[in-house]
Amino acid sequence: MDFEPTDDQVALQTELRRFLAERIDHDARRAIAEMPGAVDRDLWRELGGMGVFSVTLPESAGGVGLGFAEATLVFEELGRAAVPGPLVGTFLAAGLDVDLAASAAAGEATVGLCPVGDPAFVEHLPALDALLVVDDGGVALAEPPAGARPVDRPLDPLTPVAVVEALPAGRPVGDGDLARELRTRAALLAAALQVGLATAAVEMATGHANQRVQFGRVIGQFQAVKHMLADAQVQVEVARAAVQAAGVELDDAAAGHQEASAARRAVDVARIVASRAADRATRACIQVHGGMGFTWELDAHLYLKRALVLDAGVGSPEDAKDALAAAL
């Protein structure tokens, strides 16, 4: 066992972090919010070019040839930069046996992901080329639904939402087994995004706590602030370990070194603890910033809202709890 990231893994993560730090900042996020469906197509292609959507695809198929262990590192960085867009759906589509897969992998296409629902809430609809629809019985690939009513005020300004009474049936691309597999992968990637969001939130709050002075002292000196951030960071560290372990286990299961059920269980664990870590950290970030944390201007609320959005997607923590309960 050696659960520390390898040099290659560190390099992969560092490179992406650097790219995103240069490419996406406070203003860029706000600019993307104004684009149709809040997707920056140029950025999408750049991400595709870097292999973000094809991390786990074999090199023979034009992929990066790595595993879910590396995918968690990549999605952690995407979360940390709060990159808007249907990241999970596009990643999942790239791995399917469908025509669209190659363009999804390349970042040419955007693919949404939505559980069936009555009504259904579809994210990023105006920017979607296709929509993966998942329910217990199977997976379908559909045209973006027409007749959807956009929501005036989505919870997350970076996640526009439209409401549809009934999702199009689409073309079936897999049965219940594929649905379970996609849920598992979606759960892992969402958890990784949340670890990234939580990391960014604690970093932002720590930066503020190190410079904001109140009552003649830097507020990070006050135990009330220091301990709030320490508690948040504890949850982030635990969640990061769980997410990365789950990524490794999925790869081990794919290679036959591990039971598939054990790997799924590891993903359920990761999903649950990442959700809690994101909640704790993004809340703490707002609290540490005081009144300014409650404004639209700071990015603090974007982290919190995205974390809340991710909890309601395919492979939600609620699903994970049910699955884990069934395994106990």
Binding site: T159, F215, Q287
Partner: protein, 397 residues
């Protein structure tokens, strides 16, 4: 310990209820989301109705045009108006609950004659210019400077969290008149007309998407010396007087609205499909809703204790801090369970499905609840207050 009402209190409640039943159906439609001109018109219109019916300044002394209600009667007033779905005090908050009472207590006869009647009639809207960006929780470290120039103060600086500033006529303003004195000793409380040159108001958007608050930039604003309330450099004490009007009722409307929200959430839970039954059949969700109900009810009992204490001793003591700490925690948990029940419907702050006009409330409230541990003294400051003043633990200084 008596919770029952006196005959006078019962009569007050009956009369008020009757008036609300007659009056509310005649009100204009509610103003659109985040339209502050419309909101001003709506709120001051309501204040005018209250004035005409004798309910304006319900807790103000009679000699200044108020109703002179006891704290118990004020509680009844808040309870009945909330129960009937009457408008909130809204834009008239600062004028009727802060500035007015301060001028009653500390103002000159001229100030009282000039400012109090229009407040009661709903003619004037006030805003509060206390907070500053650098000051934050350490309010007394405010830096906005006022330099005496003949019969005027020349005021320069920046305020923040000025609610309704864009529609206000006057501002209760704290400024530093003596930069060399210890921080609590060089502050003055001023009445600033909002139409003076040099005032720039920039609305701020909060994370709920609303613009109730503004930043206010003051550039050599000339305020007449006669606008000082209390004495020069005595403004910190005057500000504390303002806060001291709290009779345990500050959060009554909030708390009652939360109880209503919870009842609504229970209804939603009973209708929401969940794991083969309804969300209400999930013992985890049900227990959490029950717990929140118990906490809100217990906080209602605490409110009655605080109000009774204020009636006897003139102030609820640190009861307000105790309430706030308990309440914000409950409200945060209520927001969590609400989003859990709503599932994907949480993605929208408005509800284009028309299935429930209340979704808006619940998602909005989840976000709004984040302000409860920040505004009007962070939870950390409140814990210091409870630890030091109630338990007698030493200050960390």
């Amino acid at each position: 310990m008596r919770l029952r009402e006196t005959p006078e209190e019962q009569a007050f409640r009956r009369e008020l209820r009757l008036w609300l039943e007659e009056t509310l159906p005649t009100l204009p439609p509610e103003p659109p989301f985040d339209d502050w001109e419309a909101k001003r018109a709506y709120d001051t219109g309501w204040q005018r109705r209250l004035y005409e019916a004798g309910y304006a300044g319900v807790s103000w002394p009679k000699e200044y045009g108020g109703r002179g209600a006891t704290p118990s009667e004020e509680l009844i007033f808040l309870e009945e108006t909330e129960r009937a779905g009457a408008p909130y005090v809204g834009c008239c908050f600062v004028s009727t609950l802060h500035a007015g009472p301060t001028i009653i207590a500390e103002g000159t006869p001229e100030q009282r004659a000039r400012y109090l009647p229009p407040i009661l009639r709903g003619d004037h809207v006030w805003c509060q210019g206390f907070s500053e960006p650098e000051a934050g929780s350490d309010l007394a470290s405010l830096r906005t400077r006022a330099v005496r120039d003949g019969n005027h103060y020349v005021v320069t600086g920046q305020k923040i969290w000025t609610s309704h500033a864009q529609v206000a006529d006057f501002c209760e303003l704290l400024v530093r008149t003596d930069p060399d004195a210890p921080k609590h000793k060089g502050i003055t409380w001023l009445i600033m007309p909002m139409d003076l040159p040099g005032i720039e108001v920039r609305p701020m958007r909060t994370l709920t998407g609303e613009s109730e608050f503004s930043e206010m930039f003051l550039d050599e604003v000339r305020i007449p010396v006669e606008n000082v309330v209390g004495a020069e450099n005595d403004g910190w004490r005057v500000a504390m007087v303002t806060f001291g009007f709290e009779r345990g009722t500050a959060f009554v409307s909030e708390l009652l609205a939360s109880k209503r929200l919870l009842a609504d959430l229970v209804e939603i839970a009973k209708k929401t499909p969940w794991r083969g039954a309804t969300a209400w059949d999930d013992a985890g969700i049900r227990d959490e809703l029950v717990l929140i109900e118990a906490e809100l009810e217990a906080q209602w009992a605490l409110t009655k204790r605080n109000v009774s204490r204020a009636a006897r001793h003139g102030t609820p003591g640190v009861g307000g801090s105790v309430f706030k700490l308990a309440y914000h925690e409950t409200r945060e948990r209520m927001g969590e369970v609400a989003l859990r029940i709503l599932g994907r419907a949480r993605l929208a702050l408005d509800d284009p499905t028309g299935v429930s006009a209340r979704h808006l409330d619940h998602v909005h409230q989840r976000l709004y609840a984040l302000s409860l541990s920040i505004a009007a003294g962070t939870a950390q400051i409140q814990r210091n207050i409870v630890g030091e003043r109630l338990l007698g633990l030493p200050k960390d200084r």
